[in-house]
């Protein structure tokens, strides 16, 4: 075993680090963007630099403008990029999920039209899958697309779309045949987010923040040429998109607290028996936090190691989110509890208590986003351990005849 880079990896990291150091220097210590425009402009400038220097689409095939390199190159680049001040918030979904779907399932014209400007960062993409009635059961999609000449007309609503209001285009899953079985009647399209009839509304979270949008589609026209995959194949296409999502090694949000946060907070708390950090119940929580968070990190190392060795990672990766999200809720609640009054009063920006308060709300969302704890446990039990699926109504029932049992 060896936690260090292989010689080749070390060499790659060296080059990448050197390039990022210069290229990202200008973002060092910048104040937060004053306007949405400034935010977007800053993001675009960084993506353009990467594009020009040949650091964009690292794992993509050359014919789509990618670098045709392996996953380790890409991972090393993101690791170094993550340590730098470079602004990297807007392209993960577009380049990570949308465009790979476009060049896998779109026709040549579509590829030529959309891939280059996306990779260079000129155009920003979002993913339009979830709906109020299609969350865990994603195939329950109701947004309609009806054929009208050589166009499709889209009506319906999507939710939990990240940055929809900043995006130029999106990929959208629609129901094109309600009389077909649930998974068969879906079709995916590219949609122009600036088109008439598209309305983005910020979706306010329980925490008060608004990181997502609701997007409403009212008679929105899309040319048939923008279809991704065959009519009725939308579910298969969506699965490839989601598979790309899964490849993105899911970890702990940066802001989330860890064992040392709890230890620091507890050190400041005097109990009848001395500082809280010396109490066995607190120490037990600290240990549990280390075991869960560090255990997930090490599990991710196992996957990276496999990639580094040119092997396919094992299923162990599937535990990450379900462990991290609940742990985040536990440690936040516990730390706020022992902080008593102070944990309940809105804490100062940037303080550890503020981080814990934010995480207590954030965790409630993280336990749901991208697969609830319950769905993820089902997936582990069924795909990894091979247990049979939940008993469900017959798969071949036409969507518009499915009745709730």
């Amino acid at each position: 075993m060896d936690f260090n880079d292989s010689p080749e990896e070390a060499k790659i990291r060296e080059e990448v680090r050197a390039w990022i150091k210069d290229a990202a220097a200008e973002y060092e210590g910048l104040p937060a963007p004053a306007s949405r425009e400034e935010f977007v402009a800053r993001q675009k400038s960084w993506q353009k630099k990467k594009y020009d220097a040949g650091h964009a689409g690292i794992t993509w095939p050359k014919k789509f403008g990618g670098q045709g390199k392996g996953p380790m190159e890409s991972i090393i680049f993101s690791q170094e990029e993550g340590k730098s001040p470079a602004p990297t918030a807007l392209y993960a979904i577009g380049l990570g999920m949308c465009i790979p779907t476009v060049f896998t399932h779109g026709n040549q014209d579509v590829i030529d039209r959309f891939v280059p400007p996306s990779l260079s960062g000129e155009e920003i993409w979002c993913q339009l899958f979830s709906e109020p009635a299609a969350g865990s059961d994603l195939a329950g999609i109701r947004t309609k697309a009806e054929k009208d000449g050589s166009d499709w007309v889209i009506n319906g609503q999507k939710v939990w779309t990240t940055n929809a209001h900043l995006c130029d285009y999106g990929i959208i899953v629609t129901r094109t045949d309600p009389s077909a079985p649930k998974h068969k009647g879906l079709t995916m399209f590219i949609v122009d987010m600036r088109a008439d009839g598209v309305e983005c509304r910020p979706l306010k979270q329980m925490s008060g923040g608004s990181d997502f949008n609701e997007v409403f589609f009212d008679e929105v026209r899309v040319p048939d040429a923008w279809r991704l995959g065959e009519e009725g194949e939308g579910w298969k296409v969506a699965l490839t998109t989601l598979m790309n999502e899964r490849l993105a090694v899911g970890g702990k949000p940066r802001y989330s607290p860890d064992w040392s946060t709890l230890l620091d907070v507890a050190k400041e708390i005097e109990t009848a028996l001395g500082p809280a950090s010396e109490q066995a119940d607190v120490r037990d929580q600290v240990a549990q936090a280390y075991i869960n968070d560090q255990g997930v990190k090490l599990t991710q190392q196992r996957s990276l190691s496999a990639l580094s060795q040119g092997k396919t990672p094992g299923p162990e990766q599937s535990i990450s989110k379900v462990v991290v999200a609940k742990q985040m809720q536990e440690i936040s609640r516990f730390a706020l509890d022992i902080s008593e009054s102070a944990g309940f009063m809105a804490a100062d920006e940037g303080s550890e208590l503020a981080r814990l308060q934010g995480s207590y709300f954030g965790a409630a969302g993280l336990r749901i986003a991208g697969g609830t704890d319950e769905i993820l446990r089902n997936i582990i039990a069924e795909r990894v351990l091979g247990l049979p699926g939940d008993l469900r109504p017959p798969k071949d029932t036409p969507f518009n005849e499915i009745e709730a049992l």
């Binding site: 865990s136 009054s341 409630a364 939940d390």
Partner: protein, 367 residues
């Protein structure tokens, strides 16, 4: 034996519940959350007409003179309805006054409580961490009472406060008329957006001694019992919301309530509630009967009810999925209130240690 509330008490509760069902609930909570009002004044009028603040005030002082049982059941309804009125705070103030106040103090304040013209509040915390029985920084100087109390629920609405103050054998209680410049009350932001809290800055304020360390500990137990009922009411409302959604929401062609993943969560909510209820009822009995079991019952009721509430508030969001995480959903009220009640009277660790100390003492006596 009769380990249940009297039919009269139940009827009194039913009245209050009918009122709160009509007047309070999430919509009323949202009005306070969005508008800047410290509380819902018209609802307070209704509450006064129902005689809720007067509930525990002796008839001699113009009150109804009911017992602890009724007070506990009203606390449960306040918890269930999230009613944005300073009733809970006034009730805690009243219990302190009844348990530790002098005849003069009672004569001075209870009539106003009874007719609704006086709103009281209760100040434990001092901004940072504050174990209720540990020594507060607030202390009596030759010039008066100095220190600050925060967060204090409903302080911005209150006319008078009972606060904990450093005493010789531990914290004692003092009475502070808030109608004096030396007692400045300012709002503080807290996680609960429906129950406004304030900071009371005491700058050589005039304050009357009220209860010694023992009285203070006794009042703490009674406050813990009332708060446990409030927590159970809130938990019950969150559980009902979760159960209703599980009966209705469809995923994969069936109502999600059919999945054991959902069903067993709901059962756990119920189990935790029943355990909390049993201890809270034990506390209500000990409270009313002045029984020595009060201390252990209060501590058990508090720990069990807050565990039930935290679990239910969190899993109610979880069970709702994405929609439960939105601002528009009512899930947030329970999620936030659970924080308020946990912070109110000292941490879980303090209370579970207090419970065990009491059990140890009981064992030594028995041995």
């Amino acid at each position: 034996m009769n380990f249940d509330f009297s039919d009269e008490a139940r009827e009194f509760q039913a009245q209050a519940r009918r009122f709160f069902d009509a007047e309070a609930g999430p919509d009323a909570a949202r009005r306070i959350m969005d508008g800047g009002e410290p509380y819902d004044k018209s609802m307070w009028q209704g509450v006064v007409e129902l005689g809720l603040p007067a509930l525990r005030v002796p008839e001699a002082h113009g009150g109804v003179g009911l017992g602890a049982e009724e007070a506990c059941l009203i606390a449960e309804e306040i918890g269930r309805s999230l009613a944005p009125v300073p009733l809970m705070s006034t009730m805690l103030f009243t219990e302190a006054l009844l348990a530790a106040g002098s005849a003069e103090q009672q004569a001075r304040w209870l009539p106003g409580i009874a007719d609704g013209s006086v709103i009281g509040c209760f100040g434990w915390g001092e901004g940072g961490t504050q174990v209720p029985t540990s020594m507060p920084d607030t202390r009596v100087t030759k010039d008066g009472l100095r220190g600050h109390k925060a967060p204090v629920a409903d302080a911005t609405a209150a006319h008078v406060a009972v606060v904990t103050v450093a005493g010789d054998e531990g914290p004692i209680l003092m009475l502070v008329d808030l109608a004096q410049d030396a007692a400045e009350v300012t709002p503080v932001d807290v996680l609960d957006l429906v129950r406004p809290h304030g900071r009371i800055r005491l700058d050589n304020a005039t304050a009357e001694p009220m209860g010694d360390a023992d009285a203070c500990a006794d009042v703490l137990d009674k406050a813990a019992v009332l708060t446990a009922f409030e927590a159970i009411g809130t938990q019950d409302a969150a559980m009902a919301m979760a159960v209703d959604y599980a009966k209705d929401r469809v995923a994969f062609g069936q109502r999600i309530g059919r999945y054991q993943g959902v069903k067993h969560k709901a059962a756990d909510m119920y189990i935790k509630q029943q355990l909390a209820r049993a201890h809270a009822m034990h506390g209500a009995w000990a409270f009313g009967a002045d029984a020595p079991e009060l201390r252990q019952a209060a501590a058990a009721a508090r720990v069990a009810s807050l565990d039930a509430l935290a679990f239910t508030a969190e899993e109610n969001v979880q069970l709702h999925g994405g929609i439960g995480f939105t601002w528009e959903s009512n899930c947030q009220f329970y999620y936030r209130r659970s924080r308020a009640l946990s912070a109110a009277l000292g941490s879980r660790g303090f209370w579970s240690d207090r419970l065990v100390r009491t059990l140890e003492r009981r064992n030594r006596v028995a041995a």
